[in-house]
């Protein structure tokens, strides 16, 4: 099934029809403005004075900003180590969001600055690195070992009634799932802390040109991304790096800057969203580099006095997707579902043999692939039981699964079969936020248990304490063990101090 040849035409046709439909409305607005401008001179002077006052306040409203400064510390609770080695992450983060301009024309920026406090450690002792070396990435992310400066959102927004255009780094939050969004095709994940990065750190912005058309009954969004931004795993010798405790071999991941910038590697997609009788739904199409790379074991490398290295390459392939998402509110429930299908997603072929008989490099094949999530949010009417309870109690359940449908193709490594249970609430007039999350990876019996509690001073200051317990089972014969087993000793206590402004 070849989509690219005609999908481009379909996408352009949709956009042109939508824009053409807005034009008559623009003419009508212009005529109304002309009629308003015909007033007497006294009124004009009065208006000028009030306009001057408005201008001063308008100037200040042109610039809007907010952000926070946060300190976060991770303490590993693995017992077989010295206490000085247990302090894994001590990070200062500054988040700054700003909009300069008016609704119809403005510059928006969401920037993050990260700094890791570990200068007292020798290089060999450091186990929390953002990157191996200092570089400027394609999406303007400036990264080094101990610090990082990212502009995940940095775009110029231009709009009129009925449509808007954006140019620059953007994040496209397609999909309704609370966890992994199958239809979030464009933005790669930042997995340098597995899944423990905050929601606003979990995905990288991508340089894009996007347009959205707003009609009475539907909206259409078109996206064009000329540059492939790769996903990131933790670098080697990092607390979150994928490592094996196997005697036979060590894993060495070779990073990539993404696919070459060529026309055939451009990404583009479209999404149409609408509501009907209380049901919100969307359909989407995508063509371009896959969000996740294929991790290909390429070769073994013999090293003196060390286990052999299995060199694993991140390689991206151009794929096509068709997807949809759905949500509906039924009393206190919000039910949601999301699915994406690809006829040509790539992955490595299985080799069900002992390590000594594995052949390198692994072969790669394309296969039909499906990924979906179903679940609900239940807004618990706790005030019926606790009279003074003011917070919003929410219980979330979600089942996510992804599957290659061709025989012999390895199943996805990163996100396979996940069950999520989450309870979230606030108590004592919003001062005490609590959450309890359990993630279960059903293929390998992996579990993440995460309770959280905090204190919100309600003046911008907040503190949160949480714990993450990770357990996983080893699977015999797997060259790269599943993430839960890989991180089974990464149990940790997390402390977060935040000031919002």
């Amino acid at each position: 099934m070849r989509l690219p040849a005609y999908s481009t035409a379909i996408l352009i046709l949709i956009f042109l029809c939508a824009v053409t439909g807005v034009t008559p409305l623009q003419v009508s607005l212009a005529a109304q403005e002309s009629a308003v401008s015909q007033t007497d001179p006294e009124e004009e002077a009065s208006e000028e004075l009030s306009e001057e006052t408005e201008e001063e306040s308008d100037e200040s409203s042109l610039l809007q900003y907010n952000g926070f400064i946060e300190f976060q510390s991770f303490l590993n609770t693995y017992r077989d180590q010295d206490f000085s080695d247990a302090a894994k992450k001590n990070e200062l983060r500054s988040r700054f969001e700003s909009r300069y301009g008016e609704d119809n024309l403005h510059l928006f920026v969401a920037a993050d600055l990260f700094y890791q406090f570990q200068s007292w450690k020798d290089d060999e002792e450091k186990d929390y690195r953002y990157a191996h070396d200092s570089r400027v990435k394609r999406n303007l992310r400036i990264t080094s070992e101990d610090a990082e400066f990212a502009f995940n959102e940095l775009y110029l927004n231009f709009g009129r009634e009925g449509y808007r255009l954006r140019l620059g780094n953007q994040i496209f939050s397609w999909g309704t799932a609370d966890g992994i969004n199958a239809t979030s095709y464009f933005n790669p994940y930042d997995l340098r802390e597995f899944i423990f990065r905050e929601d606003d750190e979990f995905r990288f912005g991508v340089p894009a040109l996007s347009g959205m058309v707003f009609r009475n009954n539907y909206t259409v969004e078109l996206v064009f991304v000329p540059v492939n931004i790769p996903m990131r795993l933790a670098p080697e010798n990092n607390y979150w790096s994928i490592r094996q405790d196997e005697i036979l071999y060590n894993l060495h991941f070779e990073e990539t800057d993404g696919m070459d910038i060529k026309v055939r590697n451009f990404a583009y997609g479209a999404r149409i969203s609408s509501s009907l009788k209380g049901n919100d739904f969307s359909f989407s199409l995508y063509h371009g580099p896959d969000r996740e790379p294929v991790l290909i074991p390429m070769a073994v490398e013999v090293r003196p006095n060390l286990p052999v290295n299995v060199n694993i390459e991140h390689r991206y392939y151009v794929v096509d997707y068709i997807g949809m998402d759905f949500s509906r509110t039924i009393d206190d429930f919000v039910v949601q579902a999301e699915v994406a299908y690809s006829p040509n997603k790539a992955n490595i072929m299985e080799q069900d043999v002992p390590f000594m008989e594995v052949r390198f490099p692994y072969e790669v094949e394309r296969s039909s692939y499906i990924s979906y999530a179903v679940g609900f949010n239940y807004f618990i009417p706790l005030h019926h039981l606790l009279e003074d309870h003011e917070g919003e109690s929410v219980f979330t359940f979600e089942w996510f699964q992804s599957r290659f449908l061709e025989a012999g193709v390895s199943q996805p490594y990163l996100f396979k079969n996940w069950l999520t249970f989450k309870y979230k609430d606030t108590f004592y007039h919003g001062h005490i936020p609590v959450a309890l999350t359990t993630l279960i990876e059903t293929d390998h019996g992996g579990i993440i248990f995460r309770p959280e509690i905090g204190w919100d001073f309600l003046n911008g200051m907040s503190v949160e304490l949480s714990y993450a317990g990770i357990s996983g089972k080893k699977e015999a014969g797997e060259l790269v063990q599943n993430s839960y087993y890989n991180y089974r000793n990464n149990d940790m206590v997390m402390l977060t101090l935040r000031y919002e402004y």
Binding site: L75, I247, L248, V302, P304, V308, M356
Partner: protein, 260 residues
């Protein structure tokens, strides 16, 4: 920064602080200078277990420095403790580069052997264990063979039983060529004949292996070392001279050992 009590109390797992170092040699290394040489350390010398269940059999598996032909393996995190016994071998991998190095048919191997009692199991001590040079002199073949029989003696004590590819010029253990020892086992004699099972290593010689002598050394003075007070036994069909056998694939039975 965080209270220490959050870490929980408990004894950390024992750390062994065992390091094994040594060197490798052999003319095959000169013949194939660019091929990788691997040193492996395992719980026993069963190559089938190493082949079929490497994850549970191997303790270490690492490259030898090609420039110095030496190795130094820090086994601190392996769980190995002083007093444990290990099998130490080194092999040169001549297989195509599309696989992980593995001692397979056609490769060459050498292993540590106690020159006094021909044991292939090394007893580790705390700290640095600098073993003697491992000579990679045996080609690896693909066969399974063993010898069984009865040691016909009423003696008491430890016994070494081994298969030796002749010719044999002297029964003095010091005169034996370790490269010609193709099977080894140890028994405890309790005053009556004991049946034995002697697996034949698929290294150095390929079946059929002719002119193989089944020899034994009875540690009469129980000092753990072969010396003049020990008794020598051997298989014979025409006493008092040793009789050689031919090892073929499979089990060779009724190869009794006698003491004269």
């Amino acid at each position: 920064m965080m209270p220490a009590l959050l870490l929980g109390c408990g004894e950390p797992s024992p750390s062994s602080n065992v390091i094994i170092s040594g060197s490798v040699s052999g003319t095959v290394l000169e013949e194939y200078p660019d091929q990788p040489v691997i040193v492996l350390i395992s719980h026993d010398a069963d190559m089938n277990a190493i082949r079929n269940d490497p994850m549970n059999t191997l303790i270490a598996y690492a490259g030898v420095d090609p420039s110095t032909r030496s190795f130094r393996l820090d086994l601190q995190d392996s769980g190995l403790l002083p007093g444990d016994t290990v099998f130490i071998a080194a092999f040169i991998d001549l297989s195509p580069a599309d696989r992980a190095p593995y001692p397979d048919t056609g490769d060459w191997i050498g292993f540590w052997m106690n020159p006094l009692n021909f044991s292939t199991m090394y007893t580790v001590t705390a700290g640095e264990n600098n073993i003697t040079d491992i000579r990679i002199t045996r080609e690896i073949f693909d066969f399974q063979a063993a010898v069984t029989g009865t040691v016909q003696t009423d003696e008491i004590g430890g016994m070494l039983l081994f298969a030796y590819v002749g010719p044999l010029t002297s029964l003095n253990p010091a005169a034996l060529d370790p490269d010609r020892i193709i099977g080894y086992t140890s028994l405890i004699m309790t005053g009556s004949p004991v049946e034995y099972f002697l697996p034949i290593l698929p290294f150095g010689f390929d079946t059929p292996i002719e002119n193989v002598l089944i020899l034994s050394i009875l540690d009469s003075n129980q000092n753990g070392l072969p010396d003049a007070e020990d008794k020598i036994g051997y298989h014979t069909a025409a006493p008092p001279n040793p009789t050689a056998v031919t090892i073929t694939e499979g089990l060779l039975t009724d190869v009794d050992v006698w003491f004269f």
